[in-house]
Amino acid sequence: MSSSRRMYQRQIPLAITFIVGMIVSFDWFVKWEPLQTLTTTLMNFQIVMVAFMMGFAGVNLVYLHTKRIQRNMSDNKLFDVLLSAILLACLFIWIIVGVGIGQQSDLYKWLFNTFNQSLSATAYAATLFYLASSTYRVLRIRSAETGLLLLVGFITICANIPLFKAWFPILGTILVWISDGLVKYSYRAITIGVGLGGILMGVRTLLAMETGYLGATEE
């Protein structure tokens, strides 16, 4: 890699990461108004960048599916063409209505309530049946360990069902014991471990020891 290319692809991004990371980190510990203002500006910049990325993802989606339609047309895969066409049509309709007429318009709300909300709720509700089916078909007492797992699961399900809790108040006490005695403290240990790992990862990133986020770069 030439030195100028190396500068653009590695050194400058690493320097930006270090400076921004240090500013934001210091802001956590030092209460100084100019630093807070600078951090807020950086955070706002990040919000704008995420919004831009979402727009970019939309453009990428159009590009990808246009190519796919062309390829599937030549391969005579008409059903795949139809699916991509529906996706692009929906994308354009939503953009045109949302940007042109506005998200507060009746048409946009109608589109959302009629299509998005119904389909989204249906898709989520359908997972209930998959979960119920898998619970019935997979959970078996095959050994002492699976027996214990099933017992805890059984008690947890019972205790989360208001009907059982009303009939057998002891279930609530057992659930509290499971939540407080087992789940909370084991999960807290995991969370602390993940947090320590995150700190280590952050320090490595700031010190340019972790450069995976830059993508593949030639050495």
Binding site: T37, T40, Q46, K109, S120, R140
Partner: protein, 277 residues
């Protein structure tokens, strides 16, 4: 293909699903109206909101989508009503793209204007906010510079409540209430508001996400509403009955069918002829 499974293990999915749908439909038509036992997590949530004073500001992340509306909307409605009863001001934003579009449905059940809650003065809706955890940090540092207009595009400069939230915003927020289906959102808010600024926080994650938030309760997260059941419990404890109570009965019947089938599957497993693989 021949199978060595007992018939109790082979009940077709169609029958199973129909029984679930039937049980849930029946209980919707003929509710049992059972008392709802209130957990300590919900009582703690109620106490945290009760501790707020008139004029305090609650920041609400209405971060749910259409998929989880049945669990989250009752929680939003009952919390809004409780806040109104206490005279607490509400600033609503959404970390879910769908959230702002679902607000109309919830507001129709609350009707804040009819109860004397004035938009811009007592409550505010700024819509979707992108950016994840850094966005939460920016909002808590300076809400007024992060948002310039509300969800409808009206400039915030004309709204008294927005002026109250000028930097440093974290000093003016009395409580953060987060509703989300994502553990990263819930934990992100805890890190940025409860850990950093010691702002009291209550959360309503989905039932399956509660173990993720439990380690923070009650130190960083003063209250947790356990999904739809938590909302039902909150309606019960706050004396503001709503839709979650009906949901509670439905969950009971759906869960009952699942449990019966779980037992049947295991009985079948032990009754089947042993041997082979």
């Amino acid at each position: 293909m021949a199978t060595d499974k007992h018939f109790l293990e082979r009940i077709p999915n169609g029958i199973y699903f129909l029984l679930i749908i039937g049980a849930m439909s029946y209980i919707t038509l003929y509710p049992l109206g059972l008392p709802i036992p209130v957990t300590e997590m919900t009582r703690a949530t109620y106490r945290a909101v009760e501790a707020l004073g008139e004029g305090d500001i609650m920041l609400v992340d209405q971060g749910y989508g259409a998929g989880t509306i049945a669990s989250h909307e009752p929680g939003f409605v009952v919390m809004f009503k409780h806040a109104m009863r206490k005279g607490v001001k509400l600033v609503i934003l959404s970390t879910s793209v769908e959230g702002p579009l679902l607000l109309d449905s919830a507001l129709a059940k609350i009707n804040p204007e009819a109860r004397g809650y004035v938009y811009g003065t007592d409550w505010l809706h700024v819509g979707y906010v992108a950016g994840g955890e850094p966005a939460y940090a920016a909002i808590l540092q300076d809400f007024y510079s992060t948002f310039t207009v509300d969800y409808a595009g009206t400039p915030l400069s004309g709204m008294p409540l927005a002026h109250e939230l000028q930097a440093p915003t974290y000093e003016k927020i009395a409580m953060v209430y987060v509703q989300s289906a994502g553990g990263d959102v819930c934990q992100g808010w805890i890190r940025q508001s409860a850990v950093r600024y010691d702002i009291p926080m209550i959360q309503q994650p989905l039932e399956m996400m509660v173990p993720t938030i439990l380690p923070y309760f009650p130190i960083n997260c003063q209250g947790i509403l356990n999904g739809g059941i938590g909302a039902a419990e909150y309606e019960s404890v706050s004396g503001l009955p709503g839709e979650a109570v009906k949901l509670s009965d439905m969950l009971s019947m759906g869960g009952l069918v699942c449990l019966i089938f779980l037992i049947l599957g295991n009985i079948g497993f032990y009754l089947k002829p042993k041997g082979g693989n």
